[in-house]
């Protein structure tokens, strides 16, 4: 047993100052999650604007100039400022707790990376008040569209600089995620006893370290092209626009897995706890995380099948193979549920929703990885539907599962179950109503990133359905906010493990945990130390 002494009370700062100067991984985790959820609300509002404009053909609620900024900021915020950073925030909070450590390996670096992330996000949005408005060349900012001769505004520069800051912040965070579980594990916590969530974050950290430097490179090249006459991407000066896509997607595809691996971890934890069984296929789950991470480094050009400039069969074959480790995860989750005693608290509802939605995202992912199919649906609404099924129906649903699951640990309060079920139902129905029609629209010929469409195209009804779905999602989000407000006012003491059958170490300390996490660390003799502590009579059954 090892114990960590609490520091003298006089040293602990109070109030706002405590949050501004904190190097506590839990406070930084909370700051990350709150910031990313704020960006989620903003990006969600931008989605409302888009769906209002597209609800019927030939509307003029916003014009093309505004719409193009809106979809650029929506994608940018959802990807760079919501989904990935929420995963980072959750991992910041959980990794030290799950491995029985008092802190991250580099607490000050951790604090620095949060503030850099916030600064980066604000810099991107500062474009809105600059002359000419915010960036409007999409979250991909392809050259030469993002070149200064076409996108001359300061908004594009702020976008590039802001996202470069967030990518540097991500790199520093990844160093913490990689080093901490390797060197800071409590006695008894071997690598093969790490919770799956922590394993997924190790794989994520490796991806960030390999993929984010190329992103910073792509942006540096863009900036040099824009202001120093570098002409990397200018065919008139011996440059090549396709080069930008190579560098950008060399980041961009691993980024997709940076936005999903943490949430595969979340789903694994939630499914096991509410099925009241040990995680099935632990080794397979760990290996598949690294399989996905490894393969994802070699598939970037599947975003470029229609350029006519890449070896399509190679990138297609590797992309297909990703379906295999992803399938392994699905089968392990199903096997974890098999012969379980499953209860349906809100986190489990969102986990089931995640599986049903992500399955569609995955299957259509294999479709768009086939060049003959991609020739039709690349840059169409089919693609928009596909990636929303992975990032929205997948990652976002897992984020809600995580929110309900760890809320009691973080705040000492359980979110209301009744409102939770309303939230889930509205979200599941709304999500599928919003995004399934987009598959059909894409096949019918609707391109993405259009601010309007002609009435004679015949896309009106499906677009209206989609907009109605987004209205339901908005309502669902309001229910979530209401649930948080209502629940926070009804405080009552919680057990260390308020769910009653949790395994990992964060459930062996109080809700919320004390400073430096544990008053005493329980003996770690299996893959589920908290469960062994709470149910010693079953400890013999725990996988070692």
């Amino acid at each position: 047993m090892s114990a960590v002494a609490a520091p003298p009370r006089a040293l602990a700062k109070e109030g706002l100052v405590a949050w501004l100067v904190t190097t506590d991984h839990k406070k930084i985790g909370i700051l990350y999650m709150l910031t990313s959820l704020t960006f989620f609300l903003i990006a969600g509002f931008l989605a409302d604007v888009m769906r209002l404009q597209l609800a019927a053909p030939q509307q003029t609620i916003v014009g093309p100039h505004e719409y193009n900024q809106v979809f650029t900021l929506h994608g940018t915020a959802m990807i760079f400022l919501f989904v990935a950073p929420f995963g980072f925030g959750l991992a910041n909070y959980l990794i030290p707790l799950q491995i029985g450590a008092p802190e991250m390996a580099f607490p000050r670096l951790n604090a620095y990376s949060f503030w850099l992330f916030l600064l980066g996000g604000l810099t991107v949005f500062a474009g809105l008040i600059s002359q000419g408005g915010a960036a409007a060349s999409g979250w991909t900012a392809f050259a030469p569209l993002s070149d200064v001769r076409v996108s001359s505004g300061v908004g594009q520069d702020l976008w590039i600089i802001g996202l470069t800051l967030t990518s540097i912040s991500g790199i520093m965070t990844a160093i913490n995620f990689l080093v901490t579980p390797i060197v800071f594990r409590a006695p008894g916590m071997s690598m093969w006893r790490l919770p799956i969530f922590t394993w997924e974050m190790i794989a994520t950290a490796l991806l960030v370290l390999m993929a984010f430097p190329p992103l910073a490179t792509a942006f540096a090249m863009l900036l040099l092209d824009r202001h120093a006459g570098a002409r990397f991407f200018d065919p008139g000066g011996g440059g090549d626009p396709v080069l930008y896509q190579h560098v950008f997607w060399f980041f961009g595809h691993p980024e997709v897995y940076v936005m999903i691996l943490p949430f595969f971890g979340v789903i694994t934890e939630v499914v096991a706890v509410f099925s009241r069984k040990p995680v099935f296929g632990y080794t397979g789950l760990v290996l598949s995380a690294f399989g996905i991470a490894g393969l994802s480094m070699g598939v970037w050009a599947h975003h470029m099948f229609t350029t006519g400039a890449v070896a399509n069969p190679f990138f297609s074959a590797l992309s297909f193979l990703i379906a295999v480790p992803t399938g392994i995860k699905f089968f392990n989750w199903i096997a974890t549920m098999w012969r379980g005693a499953i209860s349906y608290e809100t986190p489990m509802l969102f986990a089931i929703g995640f599986m049903l939605n992500f399955l569609i995202g995955g299957i259509t992912g294999v479709m768009v990885a086939s060049p003959p199919l991609d020739y039709h649906v690349e840059d169409s609404y089919f693609l928009v539907a596909h990636f929303h099924y992975t990032l929205g129906g997948g990652s976002m649903f897992a984020i809600f599962a995580a929110l309900y699951f760890w809320f009691p640990k973080i705040w000492g309060v359980k979110l209301g179950e009744r409102l939770g079920r309303v939230h889930f139902t509205l979200m599941f129905v709304g999500f599928n109503l919003a995004f399934f029609p987009m598959f059909l629209l894409g096949i019918m010929g609707m391109p993405r990133r259009v601010y309007t469409y002609p009435a004679q195209a015949g896309w009106g009804a499906l677009n209206l359905a989609s907009s109605a779905g987004v209205a339901l999602i908005t309502l669902a989000t309001a229910v979530l906010v209401w649930n948080v407000i209502v629940s926070m006012r009804k405080r009552f003491p919680l057990a260390d493990d308020p769910w009653g059958s949790a395994s990992s170490l964060e459930w062996a300390t109080s809700c919320p945990p004390p400073e430096f996490n544990f008053r005493a660390i329980p003996p770690i003799r299996s893959k589920r130390p908290a469960f062994d502590l709470h149910y010693p009579e079953y400890a013999k059954d725990s996988p070692k």
Partner: protein, 236 residues
């Protein structure tokens, strides 16, 4: 088992109905592409039905019956089973890759010498069509979309490029698009089979009026095509 068979049959039937809704006879290439769509939609629907069926089955069959249960079962690995659900998906994607590879080779191959040649240039925000052998040029604006005229039953080689940013030339009825990239000439061909007028659009986001960068393709008989070229050539 019988339930599973029913679910799979229904899923496959739905997928085939969807395939029927996708156009497939506008060009020779679209016919081949449509074959790939049928395979993937059917396989996708069957896999979805199986996996979603398992999830929902487990969710209902293994719901908690006794609130006091803390540990329902303890099994946590099964190596043969885990190998099976690794190897079988590898075989499935290998099969899908074979289908993909065969079709792509056909669709991407270019007939030489081409029967006809047309140069397509994308610009913000419309298209220019040049028939170099006939000194005919057609240029549109975002308000007046241009019309590309192609002869039915003959292969026309397309030489596609852009004069500013990246665009993409997409004819949904042909199930095909290709990027128009400045400094690059992308070459592919169409063999239209059915006369008619097909709408097309720019698919690669290219700035403010991307939404208005549309065009039409009119496929006509070889005789009508020759007549159109003569009239156009004379007018120029």
């Amino acid at each position: 088992m019988r339930l599973a068979a029913l679910v799979i049959t229904l899923a496959a039937a739905t997928a085939l109905a969807e395939c029927a809704a996708i156009p497939h006879d506008a060009t020779r290439q679209a016919g081949e592409l449509h074959g790939v769509w049928s395979v993937f939609l059917t396989a996708g629907a069957v896999v979805y039905a199986l996996v979603a069926g398992l999830i929902l089955w487990a969710a209902v069959a293994y719901r908690r019956r006794d609130r006091a249960t803390v540990q329902a079962a303890t099994f946590h690995q099964n190596v043969p089973l885990e190998l099976a659900w690794t190897v079988i998906p590898v075989l499935i994607v290998a099969g899908l890759f074979a289908v993909t590879y065969a079709a792509e080779r056909h669709v991407d191959s270019v007939v030489t010498p081409p029967g006809e040649t047309v140069q397509i240039v994308g610009f913000r925000w419309s298209w220019r069509f040049l028939y170099p052998n006939h000194h005919v040029a057609v240029e549109g604006t975002s308000d007046r979309p241009p019309e590309l005229v192609l002869p039915a039953g003959r292969t026309t080689e397309v030489r596609l490029t852009s004069s500013d940013v990246i665009h993409a030339f997409w004819v949904p009825a042909f199930l095909f698009k290709r990027d128009a990239i400045p400094g690059v000439v992308n070459v592919y061909d169409y063999t239209p089979l059915k006369e008619g007028v097909y709408p097309g659009r720019c698919a690669e986001y290219c700035g403010t009026f991307h939404a208005h960068m549309s065009f039409t393709v009119r496929v006509v008989s070889p005789e009508a095509y020759a007549r159109w070229l003569r009239e156009r050539g004379a007018a120029a």
